[in-house]
Amino acid sequence: MAPKHPPKARLEHSENVAGGAAADVHEAHHPSGPLRWLLTTNHKEIGTLYLVFSLTMFLIGGVMALVVRLELFQPGLQLVRPEFFNQMTTMHGLIMVFGAVMPGFVGLANWMVPLQIGAPDMALPRLNNFSFWLLPVAFLLLLSTLLMPGGGPNFGWTFYAPLSTTYSPPSTTFFILSLHMAGISSILGAINIIATILNLRAPGMRLMDMTLFVWTWLITAFLLIAVMPVLAGVITMMLLDINFGTSFFNAAGGGDPVLFQHLFWFFGHPEVYIMILPAFGIISVIVPTFARKPLFGYASMVYATASIAILSFLVWAHHMFSVGLPLIAELFFMYTTMLIAVPTGVKVFNWITTLFRGSITFETPMLFALAFIVLFTIGGFSGLMLAIAPADFQYHDTYFVVAHFHYVLVPGAVFSIMAAVYYWLPKWTGHYPDERIGRWHFWLSVIGVNLLFFPMHFAGLAGMPRRIPDYALQFADFNMASSIGGFLFGLSQLLFVWVVIKCIRGGVPAPAKAWDGATDLEWSVPSPAPLHTFETPPDLRRVAS
């Protein structure tokens, strides 16, 4: 089922088509000043809001991680009280997952999905604004828990009951309510993205003509709508256990704490794919551009993404191997988990094959994309190790797990967002990002991230438990290296902030088609993209001749 007219065919023709510089008829009515951002229904402005919010949360969550790393620099308790340490690990996780990575990808979807499918805007523009503005409210509420009596959430980002119910601080109720708001935001945002992709594609663009970024977001949005309500359900049950004396997670009343884990991970495992599938899409767009070759195996990429999404519903209990599952469940979840390596392997194979004999250049977005392929694969391999149930009994709750999911989330998801930002900044601002600072940012990040997370594998295999502010002396060297790497990585993100601000303020002007190997539809509109694009959709049927 290969597309007869691969995405490449589109750009040359669509330049002739009305769309790009369409007159800004709405601009006259557009409010100015801060109100413009509060009331906007424009997908580009809302995309910008999401991205700025994501970056802010990334920095706040990053500072919390640095508090953790500073305490762990040496064994013993030096800097913070253990209770505060627990709040920092918990809030770091929650903020990075729900505040930085997810809104980052939604921001990219807002900006780029309409541009890549030739749509005038998102399908439901007001709902789009609502989805965004729920987030600052939700996260202000979440951050405010740190100031409440008893402190903020301190039970880890997975908030297992009964730690998060019977033994939790009073502020947990606020944590639940803020997560409800973030969840509503995600569900509505995902509904909007699906409706946009299914209904607003330019005439003539079939599903199998869409870019991989659009495809992966279509599937991600489906996952979001399927599992965010389950999260809402489980935190509602927590709320009732805490405030109304129900027994859902309390065995004394006939409930079961393990029920919490099943419900949480039924949400949680698709959730980790929600944080990586759009990354796959980004890499699948950037690699062909800088290898100057069409993506190898377009159709197999689509099917692999769909397979990963389906499998993501069948693997959740691999997070719970050591909780005492029946043997049959251990085996089932072990094999389904290993099965995921197959479609993921297809993807890595296709990226490498796209690179094979390409005319590769190494601009900053490509550097991040290449680092993604290598480092994400390392995270994938440690995931395979963790999938082996008997071996997981040893690895469970150690720093090996921390190393694994940070490899897939930092040089995985976060690097892909950075790659995307460097790749699309010319389209957003009309200027190329500063290549010299970009390279410094890249190399310092790559060195920092590996120094930060690679030693954690060894500390974990040697038995260092996670979420502990103090540790045995034999882990001291690994932790000192991790902390140095953490500060190197954290501080080099200031370069990222600098390069983005510098690019917004000026720089080498970018043409409509900013990268010479780029072929997708967004490169047919001017740089910077005018506020309204494709008010008359480009008719791609003319291309299909």
Partner: protein, 286 residues
């Protein structure tokens, strides 16, 4: 697909105000639950949500009536509502999943069944049963009696099933242009929905005051009120939507071939109805 008539609203104050209203509601709920203060904030927040939503929908209705929406926009609304209902299905799926897990695994395991027999050591005298009348620990008092499915719940099942039929008749009437018939059937649907809620209220009163089925009555009471409570909340929302649709029908907003607002309300109502059938079977009967 259409050529360039897709309506993109210029800007709107309702979304951001909705966000603030919801935030106010959440903060009010939290302050009340945690600090036991300022309960009125919940009411203020709820009122703000309803007001802003009404004004937002008023804009949408006006735009629709002034012909700004084309067929493509209609499809966006359909996809949007469809996926929203799917998210609701998953919300209830989580609760049904919890119920099945408790009944099939957790409670028998506490009695020593299967691979997790070791958990029987926690409460050696515990005997598994469903409905769970005697929770494992004596600190949790179980219900004395359960709700008899063949009395009030059966009546309620009839109410909701018949209401789905009358709503379909109302829709058929609307499509055929018989507005009076559509109105009568819609009124009947709303009356049946309200009857359902009243009966549910009586049932809750009975459960709390005579049967000992409370939120605190172990896992049976917890799952009972979780599932029926969220369903009841959805019936309330659905009935409210239908009342708005009745008002819009009277104002002549709907034409035989352009009435997605009505259809969306009907989808929602049928969804709530199907959930009830699941509830009746797995919460009350079996």
């Amino acid at each position: 697909m259409s050529g360039g008539s897709y309506y993109v609203p210029a800007s709107s104050k309702w979304p951001v105000l909705s966000g603030l209203a919801l935030g106010l509601f959440m903060i009010g709920t939290g302050v009340w639950l945690v600090f036991d203060r300022a309960g009125y904030l919940i009411a203020v927040g709820a009122l703000a949500i309803v007001t802003v939503m009404a004004l937002w929908f008023r804009d949408v209705v006006r735009e629709s009536r002034s012909g700004l929406y084309d067929e493509q926009m209609d499809r966006s609304f359909r996809w949007g509502m469809g996926w929203f209902i799917f998210s609701e299905v998953m919300f209830f799926a989580a609760f049904f999943g919890a119920l099945f897990y408790i009944r099939v695994f957790a409670v028998p395991w506490l009695d020593g069944e299967g691979a997790k027999g070791i958990s029987a050591l926690l409460w050696p005298d515990f005997v598994a049963s469903w409905p769970l009348m005697n929770p494992p620990d004596s600190s949790v008092a179980g219900p004395h009696e359960i709700v008899d499915p063949w009395q009030l719940p059966l009546v309620n099942t009839l109410f909701l099933v018949v209401s789905s039929i009358t709503l379909t008749l109302a829709h058929e009437g609307l499509k055929e242009g018989y507005r009076d018939s559509a109105r009568n059937c819609l009124v009947l649907t709303i009356v049946l929905g309200v009857c359902f809620l009243v009966v549910q209220g009586v049932e809750y009163y009975e459960a709390y005051h005579h049967l000992g089925v409370t939120l605190q009555a172990g896992i049976y009471g917890a799952t009972f009120f979780l599932l029926t409570g969220f369903h009841g909340a959805h019936v309330t929302v659905g009935a409210t939507i239908l009342i708005v649709m009745l008002w819009r029908l009277q104002k002549g907003h709907f034409t035989p071939d352009h009435h997605f607002g009505f259809e969306a309300a009907a989808w929602y109502w049928h969804f709530v109805d199907v959930v009830w059938v699941g509830l009746f079977l797995f919460v009350y009967v079996f």
